[in-house]
Symmetry: D2
Subunit: 483 residues, 4 copies
């Protein structure tokens, strides 16, 4: 079948009838009609439509080497630098469609699965590893255009460095039984974005310092697997009016706790289990980081362009663009934007074929970008707030503009270059982007997208090739004993 | 009558029947029952109750020199350093009652009015000035325990440096007529916090670089004066559950645009008009800054203590207090807290009697605090978010804890030292404090409390006595020509 | 005898004939004539003269309770808040005399010794402790106005967390023998400022995570004790011209490695030895931190005033004081200055009598100041450089102003409000303060004055009473289980 | 003749016998023997030698299209992206030879002159402009491998925004006469690095807000032109020992005030005069910024690599590389390095042929790099100081290591992985790089290399194409009236 359109996506999700809990209630009926999920499902559907739109199809799909069907480009394994560029252009299209506000557009996890599958041979011959399952499943997902959420980390019970869970009942998801049919999981994982809104849940073990064997696994299962529950946090949708809530009404993705209540993962879906060494190494040895980060940075760049547009629109609306400190602040956003673009471009330019035959972007500039964007993004939101000043608070509603005080609003809320209605729209957007519950979740999301920033910095330090520079200085000083 | 209790306050506000517009609708019925205002009105009522509570009355009221009635201490004119301390203790009591979350507790504007009245003689003999009206009105307000909102600034249409309004119809509130009865005002003012929820509206002209004569006035009028309208921004109350919205359900104060539609200000309520020189100077020459800032900093200190408590509770809940970077971040809050306390204490210690016989705190440490707190507060909120990490996103609702997934939540959301329910309460508080629409409005409010931070820095530079230090250096260098 | 004058100081130091090594040569002859030490010895002598100057004597000395002689006030044990103020005024006088540039003016170590002696009873009855020696020696020092250097830390060989020295020959100073005469020390200590320029060397063990018993001691010995060597770093004196080097020619204090080559410390000079527990606790339990930091902050405040004077003089010289960003930068210095003053004042106001009967300043504001000044000071130097711009590079010498190109210099280097000569003097001062080898050593000195800033932040976090704030929040949330 | 070697360079400079004043004395004799200039002249000579070294010649020279001689590559006009890369490789070679410490290696001004000449047609037909002179002179310089200093800015007398010089005698260099022979200049210019150490002085008018006609000119004259004087600032050479002063002994470039005492610039050396419009526009319209910044950033990148090497060598020497905060700090340098490299690479990748047929790097990433490096570099130096801690102060001299205390030094100053001698060498390098008078001048030099950072930020803001982003947001919001 290959790449699907929006309607197919919606139908599929509706039919799954996943177990999703929100505000103490199980979601019943068509989830695509539920007020908490309607917006994001429609926005995702629009992405799927775009990939089959005659104007875009050729740049958003490729022909399956097996079925001959058109397949979403994010599923394509890059073999050349040109492939990387083609993929990036595709990421950009989707990111522009959502102004970078959909953190988990399907290309992210499509890429993740493709990257893992492309490095499957790393698992060859290792204990409790099933590389062929991974490859086969990747092909299935690709041909069916499956959509994913994922859960990589355990609940945040106790984050001290020496904590070892000793609860009688599992808290972090664990293998509690191994049977002929497969492995049985009990416990929970955090924090699956769009959990319950996708075909599948991809589960990997990532970033934990010391793995227990029984927490070391990787698999994918359908979202409606028996025993699987998605527990939502509070919704951050402010309301249905796009005037009032231009972003949250459309892009609230929801984050969920994924509960595994004796969930059976059949053997053909298990990629590895009970192998903590593989769990630690596979993520780093595979092309996961390099290929996933290319997608993430592309989206973050588009989002930065959106913020730059908002910031500049604010300055023009109230005519503050002659102030030197305003110019300096907007130039900070420009600097961030250009830096991110340059790092991404460098990673692509310096890509090389890895041991699995995949064209892998250079990881160092990607890691640098992963370190700085989580610091940049909160600053960008602060700049928007500072430019907006009292204006981001002075935000009446759409209904007010259709009431008998309309004339007052039009007179007293006009901007230097804008009608009051346009002005309030712009400031409400600035607010929804940076100050609404939706906006601040975005900030936290970008701040922690790549995990603990302190670990990222340490990893960059450890992995960066510093020897040549140390050697140059040692020679400069004619040191007697080199290191 | 003197100091009122909560019930009297509520009755009075209900009876005023002020014209308040929210979400396109005029508020009808008892405003104290309206979902958008109920919380804040109750919290204010609790403050009034406290001042007559037998356990607190002696430290929260003084005896009127005229009527012999007990009067709220914020109305007392300080004549000694002891008076300043008594006043500060009173501010602290109210601030603790609200954890510093009520920006416009009544003591703020009571103090402002008292300060202006205490400096009324500055207006003696100046054109279009009526110092006696100011003094008389202060006494009336004091004896009746009137409550206030205020509006000091004009709409944010065009903030370029050279902007002169040339709209045919006034935008910024202006005197459009002077009659036998008084002055007639048309136009709007920003951004009256608790507008419509107080007895009176205090209007002064502040901080504008160049006043038009017709925008230079000061007066106070009842909130229900004919032609006066309060147009609310969108509400930031997230809901009525104190579990879900521990702050916004109680402390959302609302900000309003105040529209003057040919409002007549009777002569006995006019303090001055058509005198731009007085408008510029009175605010700076009076004890307004010194006395108001003492109240504001006291509240901000209590708020900082609250944030410190939240930050530390977070670290204990998930057991991260052994991390050096966490310790460093919490110590930033401690540093801010101690600095603010020290500056306030210094201002009080170095207070002196001004030319009007009032004990005026030293303005320099207050100005320093006014410059740094707007930078500290956003950083504090960032620290809370960083400590909270994914926990401030993983926030199910109260209803979820009373549903059939209760056991899952209890198992998977437990904290190292807390039950899941307490843990979620704590993280929801952290969220409501820093990330909900309510929380981010608080951040913006503190960031701009004292106005444009760039102007504050310039004023500090200009007003600080630098000569002695320049002279010391000049002597150190034996410069030939001193400045 | 009591307080000495400058001449007595110089004679005493010259007669000691301490073993001081500079640039590979042993200092011979009168050390007060040596180019590397002449400036600082004269500046110290000027301090001693000041304390006996009839105009100052009464505010800089007190009458010995034993001998009736006038004694330098820094030796006085404070018993009241008034005593603290008297002491602070004395610190200020000396700090102003040196513009805060002498980090080790005698009052610093006089205070340290007095503080230790005042807490001597802490040592009562503890193993290997001799509190009476400490008290007796304090009185000796006080009556003779002895001057001190000190060494508290070990060489920086290996700073990893798990390092244990296993060198065959001691590196860090250790007790290598205990005899009838006393303890014998071998090894080195860092970094004694003014080492070799004082009567005595005070040796304590401070701030090491885990003490070896044989490194845990405290004593004082004369600088000319047999086996004691002071090895100087490179000198940072730029030259003798006060025009060219207004600071380094006068205030370069020198730092030295102190080598103990089997140095015998006689029993009556030993305060404790071989007691690592006491070594760890005495420093923190005694009034050392509280009383020493009062002196240090006083000096740092005076130094900040000096920097403010320099910054402002620069702005006036080239007429940049109308620039908003310049105003903002100078206001940063003002903010720092006022904050330091407020914290010191708060510590004094909230002082209380400790268990030894000494009036001890409140430690919390002092610790806050100790945390922030090391960050402020480098920023102040950066501000001076930014204001100075190319001017701090364009610095011809005094000789150039007395040569045939004098007229060129006078024409082309004139300032807006200053002659070229005065202008260059001012910029050379800015340079010597922040950019010469002397100036950057000052920056490093202030940055590390109180030790590792990360440890200071952790200590502040750990010691600050946070419970009340946590409890307030817990009550606010009605948490079920308190911590 | 074409590219010269080091000996030819030295001979030429010695023969010029330029009028250079240092410390009130005119430099007499061979300038290459003078202690203040010997080091830098030798380092420059080594660069010239390198370009004719058989191992490097092919990558450092090209064949003159006119003479057939080998010419230094920095004189080559780039016509393709490959040319840009060839040029960059050449910059890298020279920068590595000096570890990036020679700010004015000859390639900088060779490039500047080439860039101006390549855009000479901009001057065609404009008043008082002589494009042919510029082209002819470029060819002369290229064929003779002339070396340059330059002066672009006027003395810093009064930097207020409204200052207009009204001194009777010129301060800023001005045309005081126009004769048959040429234009006559009187006054001074700042701050010619290596002034007096080059064949020629290139004079342009740059970056002044409002030009006086008589200050608007461009020309080049030999350094020994009659009436031309170079007045040096104080030297920042610490001494001749490379152990003690590893950088200043070799790379102190000297900065000079250039005095024009009725200097006649012959007509064939005048590029334009009395045309303030051209003065303002030529610099921005030509490829000056794009081509010069490619060279500058290349050198700054190499310098950053050097700092990274020093920082890492420090951490290894005292074994602090396991500390998380140290890792974070070194990773800051890595981040800066990778960012600079990425921006430079992006500028080269996106280069395009300009209207004069020159391959011009994309200016935006270069401008971003020009904005951030001046902020990064001071931070890098701070990181080196923080890692070094007390070690950067504890720096005995080479002579000490050759004296009788040698054994003490070897024992007490050893590092975890280094002998005491190597350890002190490393820390002295860290000191000379960041804390000696030489090092801090480097910091100031990089901080102001591209001029006032506030102006750079404003220019970036103004010139960056923001419209597309504003339009995207406007469409997203369906605004009625676009801007």
């Amino acid at each position: 079948m290959g790449a699907i359109n929006g309607k197919e996506f919606i139908n599929r999700i509706n039919q799954l009838n996943n177990e999703v809990w929100l505000d103490g209630e199980k979601v019943e009926g068509l989830i695509s009609n539920h007020p908490a999920f309607k917006g994001i499902i429609q926005e995702k559907a629009a992405l799927y439509d775009l990939q089959l739109d005659p104007n875009y199809k050729s740049s958003m799909t490729f022909i399956s080497p097996e079925s001959g069907d058109p397949i979403g480009l994010s599923y394509m394994q890059p073999k050349s630098k040109e492939d990387l560029l083609i993929r990036r252009k595709m990421f950009e299209q989707w990111a522009k469609q959502t102004s970078g506000m959909m953190g988990r557009s399907p290309d992210y996890l499509n890429t993740v699965l493709m990257a893992f599958a492309s490095s499957a041979s790393f698992l060859d011959g290792k204990e409790n590893c099933f590389p062929q399952n991974l490859i086969t499943f990747y092909k299935t997902a690709r041909e069916k255009d499956l959509s994913f959420t994922h859960t990589f980390i355990s609940p945040q019970v106790n984050r001290s460095q020496v904590y070892i869970e000793n609860s009688k009942e599992p808290i972090a998801a664990k293998i509690v039984e191994v049977t002929n049919e497969g492995i049985v999981i009990k416990g929970a994982r955090l924090l699956a974005t769009q959990g319950g809104l996708t075909d599948e849940v991809l589960v990997f073990s990532v970033g934990k310092f010391l793995f227990n064997e029984e927490e070391a696994f990787a698999f994918s299962i359908p979202s409606n697997t028996k025993g699987l529950k998605f527990i939502c946090r509070d919704t951050f949708i402010g309301g249905t009016s796009q005037f009032d809530h231009p972003l949250s009404s459309r892009f609230e993705e929801m984050d969920t706790i994924v509960v595994f209540d004796h969930v059976l993962v059949p053997w053909d879906r298990v990629f590895y289990f009970n192998n903590s060494e593989v769990a630690e190494e596979f993520v780093n040895q595979s092309s996961f980081h390099a290929l996933a980060k290319q997608q993430v940075l592309t989206r973050q760049i588009v989002k930065t362009e959106f913020i730059l547009g908002v910031a500049q629109l604010l300055t023009e609306t109230i005519n503050v663009n002659e102030y030197q400190h305003i110019q300096e602040k907007v130039s900070e956003i420009i600097t961030g934007l250009e830096t991110m673009k340059a790092l991404l471009e460098k990673a692509e330019n310096n890509a090389s074929i890895d041991e699995h035959g995949v064209m892998r972007p250079d990881i160092t500039p990607l890691n640098v970008a992963s370190l700085i964007f989580p610091k940049m993004y909160p600053r960008f939101t602060e700049i928007v707030q500072i430019i907006g000043a009292s204006g981001v608070i002075t935000i009446p509603t759409e209904k007010a503009f259709h009431s008998s005080i309309k004339l007052d609003l039009e007179q007293y809320l006009q901007g230097a270059t804008k009608s009051a209605e346009d002005r309030v729209k712009i400031f409400r957007l600035a607010w929804d982007l940076t100050m609404s519950s939706f906006g601040t979740r975005e900030t936290q999301y970008e701040r922690y997208f790549f995990g603990d920033p302190i670990r990222i910095a340490s990893d960059l330090y450890k992995n960066f090739p510093k020897e040549q520079y140390v050697n140059h200085v040692s020679e400069f000083l004619h040191l007697k004993n080199s290191l």
